[in-house]
Subunit: 448 residues, 2 copies
Amino acid sequence: MTEPLTAVDPAAFLAELASAVPVVLDPHVLMAYQRDQAALAEAGTPLALVRARSVDDVAATLRTASAHGVPVVTRGAGTGLAGGANAIDGCVVLSTAAMDGIISIDKVARTATVQCGVLNGTLSAAAADQGLWYAPDPASKAVSTIGGNIATNAGGGCCLRYGVTGDHVLALTAVLASGEVLRTGTATRKNVAGLDLTRLLVGSEGTLAVIVEAVLRLRVPPPPQATLVAFFDSLRKAGDAVVAIEQAGTPSLLELMDRTTIAAVEEHTRMGLDLTAGALLIVQDESLDAYADACRGAGFVAQTDDPEEGEQFLAARRLALPALERKGLTLLDDVAVPPPLIADMMDRVQAIADRYGLVIGTFGHAGDGNLHPTIVFDREAADTARAAFDEILAAALSLGGTITGEHGIGSLKTPHLADMLGPTERALMARIKAAFDPGNILNPGRAL
Amino acid sequence: MTEPLTAVDPAAFLAELASAVPVVLDPHVLMAYQRDQAALAEAGTPLALVRARSVDDVAATLRTASAHGVPVVTRGAGTGLAGGANAIDGCVVLSTAAMDGIISIDKVARTATVQCGVLNGTLSAAAADQGLWYAPDPASKAVSTIGGNIATNAGGGCCLRYGVTGDHVLALTAVLASGEVLRTGTATRKNVAGLDLTRLLVGSEGTLAVIVEAVLRLRVPPPPQATLVAFFDSLRKAGDAVVAIEQAGTPSLLELMDRTTIAAVEEHTRMGLDLTAGALLIVQDESLDAYADACRGAGFVAQTDDPEEGEQFLAARRLALPALERKGLTLLDDVAVPPPLIADMMDRVQAIADRYGLVIGTFGHAGDGNLHPTIVFDREAADTARAAFDEILAAALSLGGTITGEHGIGSLKTPHLADMLGPTERALMARIKAAFDPGNILNPGRAL
C-alpha cells in the first residue's frame, strides 16, 4: 500500500474544504464519530467531519482531500464490527448517514433505488408496504445503513437460501477519489457487459470509492415459515445434524448456539432453555417434514407452524450477543468454515477458551458455516482476549476457512490478511486499489 | 486500451515457446481454432496453438508471450457466442480443453474442484453420481467447458431461481500474464476477506487472467418439477403473464418463445404447436397451483407433474435455436431488460424485423428478462442483419437494459460498449485490466 502522495497542510485543506461543504470541527462531535462497534480496534483522531447531504458534497470532499493528500474514512451508521469506519489520525470522517432517501420503489420490476444512508430497516419497511421483501437481514438491520451493508457485503440469517447483500445489488453509483462519479451495473437481473465493478465495490470497505446510491433487488415475500428448535447434548451431534439438514433441503434459516451462549441467554431472560444441552439449532422452512430424520440425534425438539411463536423461538438467537455483552467486554469474531467442519471449529474454539481461561460463547449461521465466537473478558485481560481471537482466526484458516464471513477485515483483521492471502493476491489487490484511488486517500491501510 | 509494449519477433518467440511447451503450427489445425460460434464476428490468423495440459504449460505460455508482447486468446470448447475466443492476427491460441479433470467432489461439503477444461455436462453427470446437482445450465452444457462458462458468467434456464455460473464459483486458480499463479476465494459459502477477485474474474472473458481451476458449489437436487405450457394470442398478454407469474412465486424456470420461433420449431418437428399463438411460456416449479391465475390470459394451457413429459414440453424451447438455424444464417442476440418491459422489447424487435424485412425469432429466459432475438438472414444480407442487430442493442439500452445478459461482449459487441458504459467506467476498467495484465497481451481489445 502506497502512502498518500502529498504532504498535508491542515489549515489550507480545511479552508478549502469549508468553502465547498459544511465542516464540523467540534472535538466532542468528532469523538462521537471516531469508532464503530468493534472492540479493541485502533482509532485515530479525525481532523474534521463532513455530513454529506448530496453526491456533490461527497465529490467535493473527495476532490479536496485528494488534492491535499488527506485520508477519508467513510461512515454509515457506525455499526461495523471490524473497525473499518474507525477514524485515522488527521482524516476526514465522511458521514453519508444523512443521504437517507428512498428514491423509488418499482413494484412491478421489484427493485428499489436508494441513497446509501437509508437504514436497512427503513427500506425493508417501505418494501413491505408495497407487498415486497428486502431479504438481507444483518442483526444490525434496524440501525445499519444500506451503504454500510454493501461496503461490508453484510450477511444475516436469510442468506442461507436468499443470498448475501451483494446478491441483491444490481447497480451502484459511487464517487471515486478524484471526485468523478462512477455508475456500475444495470437494473436487469443478468448483465455481463464489461468487468463486474458492482461486485468489486461490494465488500470493499470504503477503500475503492464512496457508494452513494444503489439499485437493489426486492423479492416476493416468502410464504409463512415454520420453526423448529432442537437441543443436542453435544456440539458434535449438532454439527452432524447441520450436515444432515442440508442434505434434506435448503432451509430459509439454520442458526446455532453453543452451551455458553445458551447459558448467557437463559441467565438474561429466564425463558426456560435447557442448560444441559451442548448446543441448539433453530431451523425455518415452509415445511419442516424433511428435517425430522436429520434431527433424530436431538434430545429435545419443539416446532411450530405459527410465525409469531417461531419469532419467539428465534428470540433466544437474537439475544445471543446482547446476553454475552452483559457478562463483560466482548470481542466478536466472524469466521467461516465449510459446514461439515463446524463441530471441529467449535471444538477448537473451546480448546482455546480452556487454554486462556476465557469465556467464549459461539453462535452463528450454521447453514453457511459462519460462526461468531464471542470472547467475554475484563478490561485487564484485553491482551489475552486478543491472543485468543488471533488463535481462532488461525484455527479457521487451518480448516480451510476464512477469517471473515460477513463483517469485513476493517482495521481489526488487517494483520491477519497475510495469513490468508498470498503475496500475489495482495499485490494485485493493491494494484486494483491504486487503479481506483491512486493517491491512497480512501480508508488507507484498511481491508486489503 | 494500451497496445502491447514490445515488438514481436515471431521466429524468436516461437523458438522460445516451443522450448517450453508443445506448439502446433499446422495451418489446417490452426484454422479449426480460429473461431467460436459467433456469426459475423471478426477472426484473425493465429501464429500458433498451445494445447495446455497443466498449469505449468499455461504459465510458461503466458510468461513467454509477455516477454515477447504476443497476444494470447484463451479458448475452452469454442462454444462462445460473442467472438471472445476468436483468434487475433499473430496471437497464440491457448486451448485449455485438455485440462479436463475433475480433481475432487466433496459430497458432504457439496463442492467440486475441477480443472477449467472439464465440460459442464461431465461435471453435472459426476455430481449426479454423488446424488448432487451442478445448477448452471447454459444451452451448450453438453459441449461447453466450465472455464468458458466462468469466463462468460454463463446463464441458462435454472438461474432464475438458482443463480448464474458466478453464483456457484467459490474459489479460482488463475494464471496472470506474468506467469504468476493467483488463488482467489475460499471453499466457504461466505467470505469477505479482501477484494472479491473471484467475482472480478467471472465474466472477464479472458482479459484479466487464464482460469485454470475452480472450486464450485454443488446443490442438493431439487424435487421433481411440474411443467406448464401456456399459449397466448399476443406478446403483450404473455409479457403480462410473466409479471403476474413472478408476483405469485419464483418458478425454477420461466421461458418464452415468440410466434416466429414457434413456427420454426413446428416446421422442424411437427410436434403440434399452435401456430396462431403470439407467444408461449413454459413454467416449471414443484407446484404450479400458484400460477393458475397468472396464466388466465392464455388461450390454451397444458400442464404435467410427470418430469419426463415436462422434458417433452421443454423440447420445443430447446429446439428454438436449431430450428431457426435451419432457416438460414443466424445472428443470435442476448439482451436483457427488466422483466416488465419484455413485451415492449419484443415489440421493438418486431418493428426492427419489419423495417429491415428480416425474419427475427425471439426466445429466451423471460423470468430474467433475458431475450435472444435471432436474426435469420442470407449471406448477401449480412450488412442488413448487422444493422438490425445494432438496433436491437440500442432498443435494449433505451429500455434501461443491457447489451449482453449471459453471452458476453467478446469481439462482437465491443463497438457497442461505449453506448452502455460511460468514459469513467471504461477508463476504470482499462486501469483494472492494466493492473492484471500490464503488457495487454490477454485478449487485447476484447470485452472491456
